[in-house]
Each structure stands twice: as C-alpha cells, then as structure tokens.
Symmetry: C2
Subunit: 471 residues, 2 copies
Amino acid sequence: MDPNEPPVPILQRLREWVAIPSDSSQPSLWGEVERMLHVAADKITAMGGTVEFADVGSHELPSGASLRRPPVILAQFEKEPKKATLCFYGHVDVQPANKEDGWATEPFNLTEIDGNLYGRGASDNKGPVLAWLHAIETYLATKQEVPVNIKLVLEGLEESGSDGLEELIQQRNDTFFSDVDYIVISDNVWLSRRPALTYGTRGSTYFFVEVEGPKIDLHSGVFGGCVQEPVGDLIALLGSLLDHRGKILVPGIYESVAPVTEEESKSYQDLHFDLEEMKQEIGVECFLQDTKEAMLMARWRYPSLSIHGIEGAFSQPGSKTVIPRRVVGKFSIRQVPNMEPAVVEKQVTEHLHRVFTRRRSPNKLKVSATVGAKAWVADLKDPQYIAGRRAVKAVFGGEPELIREGSTIPVAHNFQELTGKSVMMLPIGGHDDAEHSEKEKISRYNFIEGTKLFAAYFYELSQLQQSPQKM
Amino acid sequence: MDPNEPPVPILQRLREWVAIPSDSSQPSLWGEVERMLHVAADKITAMGGTVEFADVGSHELPSGASLRRPPVILAQFEKEPKKATLCFYGHVDVQPANKEDGWATEPFNLTEIDGNLYGRGASDNKGPVLAWLHAIETYLATKQEVPVNIKLVLEGLEESGSDGLEELIQQRNDTFFSDVDYIVISDNVWLSRRPALTYGTRGSTYFFVEVEGPKIDLHSGVFGGCVQEPVGDLIALLGSLLDHRGKILVPGIYESVAPVTEEESKSYQDLHFDLEEMKQEIGVECFLQDTKEAMLMARWRYPSLSIHGIEGAFSQPGSKTVIPRRVVGKFSIRQVPNMEPAVVEKQVTEHLHRVFTRRRSPNKLKVSATVGAKAWVADLKDPQYIAGRRAVKAVFGGEPELIREGSTIPVAHNFQELTGKSVMMLPIGGHDDAEHSEKEKISRYNFIEGTKLFAAYFYELSQLQQSPQKM
C-alpha cells in the first residue's frame, strides 16, 4: 500500500459529515445542526470520550416564542494528571449552500476533483474537527497512549454568531476549563502553500454617526440652499477620517499601536505572498502598499478604517431629490494590539465632535459605537507555539509561516481573555479553500497531512515539559 | 342674499370633481382619470367650447403590453380675431390619497371646515381649473362677451410626469398654439396670505458620481488598509462640493448667475414671509440666511446643491463590514437664470475629475448628469404681468406679491421654450393649501376670489392692447 494513500474510512467519514446540511443561519434549520452535533458526540463516545451537551440558552423567535439553541459539546478523554491538558475548539455548523448559488458540485456531497474535496464545511470547519478526532484515533488504533489529555469544545452556532458561548466559557471557567493548559483553534487557513501558525487577529469597533436636522424630510427645490443639510454635515464628518492614502486622521489613534520589533519585522520577509496574484484575484490595479511586507503589516498589525455606507439617505437606483432629515454614517475601525477600544471610541468621538463644532451646524450629532472584538495576539515564545513549530517541521519538513488575520476571530480573543489560558490557532486549511464561497474545499493533502500535524503536535507538546500548572 | 355668499353650483361642481379619484400614479387607475377628463370636456362643450382629445402615445406595461395614455384636452371657444388669445394650462389628475394615510376627512369627499374645503385635488389642480371655467361661465351667464379668446390645455398625467405633453406641444406648435398670445398656468400657491404672481422657477440637473474599484466587494478585515476604497474616494469627491455654509465650491459656478437688479432687490422687501413660522413648521433652529430677503433669494434666484445619497454602499439599519466595490453618489444642483445646464455639467465634471486626480486613486471615476428642467423666468414688464397686477388690484385691493418657485415646474419653461409665447403663473391657491399632503384644501375664499381674479384678468388683458401678433 502506498504510504500516502489513506485508509478509506477517514475520507468516508468527512463525506458523511458534509452530507448533513448543518446550516445554522436560520432557527428553522437547527434540527440538522442538532443532528450533526449528535453524530460528532457519538464519534467521541465511540472513541472512549465522555460528552456533555451544555445548554447555551434560548433564541427568541419573531413570533415571541422561544427556541432552545443547539447545545455546545464539552467532551473529554480519560485524564492522566501528569500530562498537559489540551482543549480543542471547533464548530460543526456551516454557512448556507445551494446548488443554484453557483456550485459546480453538489454542496452537501463531498466531491473529489484533482485532489481537492469540494463541499460545504469541508474546510470550515468539519474537516479540521475530524482531523483532530482522527489524530486521537490514530494513537488509540495503534495502541499508543495519547501523549496529552484531550478536551473538546464543539459548537453549532459559529456561523451565526456563537450566541451563548461566551457565557458558557465564563460559567465553566472554574470547572471544565480549570485544568486546561492550552487551547487550540483550527478555524482559519494558511497564507500560502506552506503551513502556518496564526498568532494574532485584529479587533473591530463599529461606529454610527448620526446627524439629525429638520423634523421632516425636505424638498431640495424648496429648501436647497436655505437649510444646513444633515447629509452635507455627515459627508464632511466622514471625509475628516481618512487621508487620500487610507491614513486615519483621528488624532492619537496610532499612538498606542504596538511597535514593530526587529524580530517581527524579519518574520514578514519569509512569508510567501504574491501581491500580483492577489491583485488579479480581487481586480485592483495596485494596493496602498508596494511590498508584500508592508501590505501584510497593513492587514495584520496596523489599524484601518473603512466607511461602509449611509442609512437614511437615498440609496436606490435612479434619482430622488429629497433632503433627508436624519442620516447615519457607518464605519468601522480594525484595532490592533495594544489599542484599547474604549480609548479609540473616545478619540473618534472627540474628533468628530471637534469637526462638527467647527461647522457651526444647527443639526444634532450623535456618535455611538459597538465593539465587535478586541485584537488578539499570542506570545510566540509560549510553549505551544514552540511545539507547533516543531510539529510542522516534523510533518512538512520546514518552518511554519507565522501569520495573523486581518479580520476578527472573536473566539480566540475570548478564550484567552475569559480563561487566561494560552491560545494558538493551528490552521490546516489551504490558502485557496474559499471558505463561505461556492468553491469551498479542503485538499486531500491538507486533510491527511493536517491529521498528521495534530498527532505530531500532541507528541511535541508532551515532549516540551510537564503541564505548566504542575511545574 | 349676502354678496359674499356664492351660488351653490360652483362649490357643488368642485365637490363632484373631487369625488372622482383621478389618481394618475398607476396605469390601473387611469380609468378614473379618463372619466374625469370626460367630465371636464362635457363641461366645456356645455359652455359652447369645442374639445379635441389629443393622443399622447402609449405606456408600456411591465407585461410588455401597451396602454394608451389618457389623452390631453385641447379646447377652444369661439374666436374673435381682433381679441388676444389666452391659453390656460391645468390638470385634472391628482396625487394618491387614502383615508388611512392620515386624512382627517374623506379625501374624495370635499368637506368644509372653518371656511376651508378639504379634499384631494381641491387646490392641485381641480379648484383652479374649475375657477377658470367658472370665470368664463360668469361672462356667458351674464350675457357679456368674453373679452379675450380662450383656449385650454387640460391633462391627466401631470402628477406622474406629463408623459407625452412635450411632444404634443411641439406637434401642435403651428396649429393649436399658433394664434395663442399668452399662456397662463395656475398650478402653484401663494407665498403668504396675499395674492401673488409667479414669474420664475429654478431648474435642476441631477448628477451621478460613480467610483468603481475592485471587481468584487471586499471584507474590511482582510483588505481594510490595503486597498483604496471607492467609498473613501466618493466621500472626498462629495465633500469637495460644498463649504460648511452651503456655498458651492465648484469653480465658476456662480459666474453666470443673473445679477440682482435694484428693482428685484426691492421686490423682496414687500414680501410677507415669516422666517420664525417656517422654522417651526419644518423643525430647524435656523436657516443659512438670517433675513427673509436673503432666504427667499437663496430659494428662488441662487443655485443650490443638495447631496441625496449613495447607491451601492451599505444603507440598511445595523452593521455590515463590507468594502463596496462600486458606489454612485447622487446630488442635484438647482440652476437659476442665466445658468446653462451644459456649462454647469462641464464645470462640475471637470471639478470632480480635478479632485479625483489629486487623490491618485487607482479606482475609476465616471460623472454623468441628467437635466430635469431649465430655470424659467418671465419678464415682469410683459403685458400679461401688467394685466395680472391690475386684476389682483381690482379684486383684492392691493398689489400682488411677485414671487418665484425654488422647485422646478417644467411645464412653465417648456411652454415658453417650445411655443415662444409669454407664460405667466397666476396662482389662486393659499400658502397653506398643503398640496400632495393629507391636509390638501382650498379655502372657500380663495376659490371664489380666484374665480373673480380670472374674470378680472380677462378684462384687464383686453384693456391693455390688441393681440401683440396683430399690432
């Protein structure tokens, strides 16, 4: 048997999991999410683990009725107090998928084409969850001791906002999580064709800038030129946020941004990222940065501000000559270490009020914000990153790329903040897995080598030291 | 009989006309519009006039089928070549009206409360059309010769855009309109409690500013800070149009604006317009102007620019972190005499391209414009304005207010441009008639005195001179 040819069951199992349309986007579909959770739980139980279906509260339907949310699986395997305890987080719900959306294959029928396994959830996140279970199973099947204690958190509402998870983590901080040493998440993808460890994500704060003027919408023929129009104020406010190269003009905003160390700076040089290929992919002539290093820094470790739109103004096709009485501008700031959302909110609010005051407008300004997630960054010297690098080296024969994400992954920050444990993101998905799109896939290579990576990681972690709590 | 108490029939007739729900907003309702046109035509015929139902083409339905538009009435009374010929324009269709919209009365049941006659179309425009017919009828009933030749243009699609009317005017320029000396429109309202003559309206050009960037919408977490966002470019472009007091910053835009003559300047002093009352009505703390004179000049005789909104950006309630790939900003400029729309379009387009070039953005800019209507202004020395002033003096005992409209009334400009005839707007509706709203009314006073005004106007016009064509 070719050593690269896997035994059939692990692909067959991914096919069975993908076949369950566990789309969590609508409560009416949650039956399939529950079914998927039970299939996962049965697998864990069959492997000797114990499973608790933890309640995460109810969802209020538009009718006023209340629907119990799909539970979160809290699972554990037999515990050996001397070993470090590793907790894996994953999810078994998926994004919506319909053949008519443009899928070349049946989205819930895992289909292999040229070594790629296409299907909804293949990469996000059923493939990685199964790879983790298969890594454990490999030890069991070969009658070897799993070198670390294993716990799992598997949820069914990740794609619709992880409602109730944060509360559950808090509730179980002193019980389920008390003996956890490390938390691993595998819910993102590599940057290039090379394996990666992810050690940071940006955070996000969403701003609402409301300008309110007359008590009724006005006709621009009758009142144009006579009233200070709320849209004019709002455009000036939004226009004061950025210069023509995307630099944020809010005073003080860059002050707390973590400085770039020499080591970090160097790490960008080794990354494989093709600016030209990316330009082609999204159809732009150029980026605001000329080099790979500068562009990835802009994406991962510097703040950015994007204006998303205006509520209350005319937004349909065609023409309408209204003067809207109240408009709300929307923009978001991606925060990075060490920016404090509360400070950012204060800086932005004060800036906007300063600009507004200079206009001497009779309209009313109200600025509000919601914090989507805080930035997250891990210490690369932490034992699990050392173990992660060794595991990658053992399986793939080279160093991993050390990457971050520009978008928020709230669960990483939340686990770190709420439990105080070390968190690592150890992706096994390929850079072209196209999660959320009609081309979602995981390659056979990544699925199998990813399984090996997790198994190697258990071993490398056990070799490093005893559980930090027991030192 | 109290001389101020009218004979019942003229109010009864307005009640009958208002009772016909000739809402032209939907083709499915055009049956009632046709019925209304026939009622009007029968009235004219009964008075001895001749009526032609002129075809104004067809409307294409979404089904692809074609529906004949309600015709336009072209009517005339017996002609005496020595007399001047006066053509009245009016419309017998109305805005939609439902009791549930907030009407205190039944909208199609003319209801008198405290001397006001509430009902859809009472002021816009059935009341004035009937007042015109009643003025003629007064001469006929008292066996007096009507002192001028009378023609009428009555349409049924004014509230939905007067489709086909412009073409009809052009077609009949050498026939129906060839012997017309003066055109009178009575489709607006007074400025205050005093009667008015309207001698101008602003025009309007609508601008579309399209900024196109990436070929797909982008995630602001992944690409925020790396791409030049189309919304950022658009906000800067829109922000370059106005200063904080509503002054238009497009170079050259004010250059062609007709200078204010001393006579015009004086005319504003006599106008009755209460700034405080207007502030209350629309709910603003102040206007951009401090005096009545300055505010009315800003409304009537200076250009203004209003930004209406953005198409393609996020416009719903809530939050969404998209970077839109293509956005279209919408704004309009109200033009005044002697601004040429083509010149304005060139000035604006060049200005926006200059601002855009300075940004060195990789995105694509496209500016386009549609001219809604040209500004219109009449010569107050024209005989019909002299006759109009005299008629007002005769009926109301004082000079009329000489006013303009800030909004476009395309028909005024179109008649003047297409026929080359003198056009006057001679409103009889009160300043508080609330056309298009759920409080539409005409006062018994305005309806009756308006009828007298039209009759007096026929007389004053005949006294001025013979038809200018025959001089």
